[in-house]
């Protein structure tokens, strides 16, 4: 799914965040989004994901406006990860449960991703007792397993150790192998991840 | 059976239903129940629990007892919220019938009001036994007097007595409670004051209060209970037959003798004296 952002402007109670942003993001690519604190990166992603309303301008998904079908194909990973009041396993499995009955395949899939991010040992742990980085891992796993066509990650690696960052790079690359997947990542980190980006936007 | 005869012998539509009911099933619950609005004294003394079951199995009709002050009971009748009233404020009752709210008023039973006061009280003595004297004495000595103050039959009676004594009761010594008889007795006991109560309620509360009868017997203290079937024109939901049955029953010999019996073994004397006519 392709994204076209034109003349996007956002005010929070008449305090300007950004103005007349134009961007194009095409399926199959990985985009980086950088900018100073408060430049509006998260806000932009939240607007794209339909969590917030822009003040002016519009976002088009394959030339169409935002609607339920888009909603189902897009995921935004919050900058501050939210853990459901469930075990780690159930947290990660959740996106699959809402589609249809869980089968062996789903469980396997979940276990696999947990192992990759070495969360398996926390399988039955209460997710809200995890460490900062572990929480980010969980919310990432949850987003990846959902397999959205558009994946918006808000500083996913902020609290993660080097090892994990590399794992994630691998995952993103793997994900991109399927065509028509679009991934966009906000990061302040100047070195790692960069090699993933087909293009970097600055706010 | 009797019940079917009753319901066939009438024309109002609510009981046409009954007829059908009582034909295919004559069990108690099936016949339209009646709402009896009465005073707290008849329920709190336990009389109704004692006699009502007899009516229910005899006529196969349930009685829903709403125990409130006489004032409210009359209002309920006036608004057609109740089918039959069992109250004790003769003058207001007659006015009630006059105004066409009720069909007719019948005497059912009586007992009497008694003045209650703390044990070993000295204020009231033999020569001040007449109701008016008692009240005058209390007023003069400013002895605490707890009044129902709830527009009930007892309250109406008390007010009329003050009327007769020509005293306008007011001041700290005159406590207007706005409560039922039982609670008022509790308060009088608690405040070591005087109050006017119907004998039945007093006897049923005797065991747990330090109050005793300080004056009684004045014919002014006569307490007549009357039954009034509410005028069916008040509301098309009024259960006319039920009301009639109830009146017929309560004035009947069986019930009258039950009233006579009630309380004898428990209190050594009957709480109400039947005088149904």
């Amino acid at each position: 799914m392709n994204l076209t952002i034109c003349k996007l402007t956002k005010y929070y109670n008449n305090q300007l965040v950004f103005k007349n942003i134009d961007m194009i993001m095409e399926a199959g690519n990985v985009y980086g989004l950088k900018g100073d604190n408060g430049s509006g990166k998260s806000t932009l992603f939240r607007i794209i994901a339909g969590l917030e309303k822009q003040t002016f301008g519009e976002v088009l998904y394959n030339k169409k406006k935002f609607d339920n079908t888009v909603q189902r194909k897009i995921t935004y990973m919050h900058q501050k990860p939210y853990m459901m009041k469930k075990t780690v396993f159930k947290n990660i499995l959740y996106p699959l449960t809402i589609r249809n009955k869980i089968d062996e395949k789903d469980i396997k899939k979940t276990y696999k991703i947990m192992e990759e991010l070495d969360l398996y040992k926390f399988k039955d742990k209460k997710a809200w007792n995890l460490s900062g980085g572990e929480m980010q891992k969980v919310s990432l796993a949850r987003a990846i397993i959902f397999e959205p066509e558009i994946l918006l990650m808000d500083e996913p690696t902020a609290h993660m150790d080097k090892k994990t960052v590399e794992t994630i790079e691998k995952m993103v690359i793997k994900r991109q192998r399927k065509n028509k997947m679009l991934t966009a990542i906000i990061t302040h980190d100047t070195k790692s991840l960069d090699r993933l980006f087909d293009r970097v936007y600055y706010l | 059976s009797e019940s079917t005869k009753k319901s066939t012998s009438n024309d109002n539509n609510s009981s046409k239903k009954e007829e059908i009911n009582s034909n295919n099933d004559k069990s108690a619950k099936e016949k339209k129940s009646i709402i009896l609005a009465t005073t707290t004294s008849t329920e709190n003394s336990g009389l109704l629990d004692y006699i009502i079951p007899n009516f229910e199995e005899k006529y196969g009709r349930e009685v829903k007892v709403i125990a409130v002050g006489t004032g409210k009971a009359l209002t309920m009748g006036e608004n057609g919220e109740a089918d039959v009233l069992l109250v004790h404020a003769k003058s207001s009752e007659e006015a009630f019938v006059e105004a066409g709210h009720g069909i007719k008023r019948y005497d059912v039973m009586y007992n009497d009001f008694v003045f209650l006061g703390p044990k070993e009280q000295t204020l009231i003595d033999e020569e001040s036994s007449s109701a008016v004297k008692v009240l005058t004495k209390i007023a003069e000595e400013k002895g605490t007097f707890v009044s129902r103050g709830d527009d009930s039959g007892t309250h109406k009676k008390e007010l009329s007595l003050w009327e007769d004594s020509g005293i306008k009761p007011e001041g700290d010594w005159y406590v207007s409670a706005g409560k039922g008889m039982g609670d008022t007795i509790t308060m009088a006991d608690e405040m070591e004051g005087y109050t006017l109560s119907d004998r039945a309620t007093y006897l049923s509360r005797m065991k747990d209060v330090d109050l005793e009868i300080v004056a009684e017997g004045d014919e002014l203290l006569f307490n007549q209970y009357g039954v009034i079937p509410v005028n069916p024109e008040k509301s098309d939901m009024i259960n006319k037959n039920g009301a009639e049955e109830f009146v017929e029953w309560i004035l009947g010999d069986t019930c009258q003798s039950m009233i006579e019996e009630f309380g004898k073994e428990k209190f050594g004397q009957s709480l109400f004296v039947p005088n149904g006519k």
């Binding site: 939210y82 809402i98 | 709403i66």
Partner: protein, 231 residues
């Protein structure tokens, strides 16, 4: 003092005595109050969610009105319901006065604001992020609602427990619309009130103890149901 001990003693007698009337009163109280609580939840929880999540004009007037309604006086509710259901009243023809239905109506009016208020407050603070997450994970409308339920089950429990507690313990409304009719509309509280004015303090306290014990065990039960994997 002695009444209180006596009360505990009587409480046991009450339970053990196979006095069907007592059981019937207890069962009936539970029936009425539970029904009202459930109806109130069905009305109140969605309203709480909705008003908590969305921003609308006068939202804080709304919230203050809600708080005020959480303190609706039972007697007033009872009276109003009575006026509507009375034979003379607009709904008189249904003959609901002095019936369990009237009692349930009154208690529902009493309890709904309590449940709504609890849900509303919590949703206002925690709802948005929860709702966002459910959206980003591709939940349909109904799945979002279910998601909210799951994540808020604690506060929902608290709200319902509070509502039920209020219902089972109030006497003002239920006395007026129920009429405390023996064998029909007599519940624990009206039973207590009546025995009070009859001077049977022991049995009043006994029934009070029974009442509290029951609602404690009900809370425990409900709590167990939602407790699973929560700190």
């Amino acid at each position: 003092m002695k009444y209180i001990l006596e009360g505990f003693f009587e409480a046991f007698k009450l339970i053990l005595s196979c006095d069907t009337e007592v059981y019937q009163i207890i069962g009936f109280s539970l029936l009425v109050s539970m029904t009202s609580t459930i109806i109130s939840s069905i009305i109140g929880i969605p309203i709480g969610f909705f008003t908590g999540l969305h921003n609308f004009k006068f939202k804080d007037y709304y919230s203050r009105i809600l708080f005020t309604m959480m303190g609706l006086p039972p007697v007033v509710i009872g009276l109003l319901v009575a006026l509507f259901l009375a034979r003379r009243g607009p709904l008189g023809s249904f003959q609901l006065m002095y019936t369990p239905i009237a009692m349930i109506i009154a208690q529902t009016i009493l309890v709904t604001p309590i449940i709504t208020g609890n849900i509303f407050n919590y949703t206002k603070e925690h709802g948005p992020i929860i709702y966002e997450v459910s959206k980003t994970l591709g939940c349909e409308f109904w799945q979002r609602v279910i998601f909210l339920f799951q994540e808020m089950r604690i506060i929902i429990f608290i709200g319902m427990a509070q509502g039920f507690g209020r219902a089972i313990s109030e006497v003002g409304a239920i006395m007026i619309v129920g009429g405390n009719i023996k064998g029909h509309t007599r519940v624990m509280t009206t039973f207590i009130a009546m025995n009070n004015s009859m001077g049977n303090y022991g049995i009043s306290i006994a029934m009070g103890i029974v009442l509290l014990t029951i609602s404690f065990f009900l809370n425990t039960l409900m709590y167990r149901l939602i407790e699973r994997d929560i700190k």
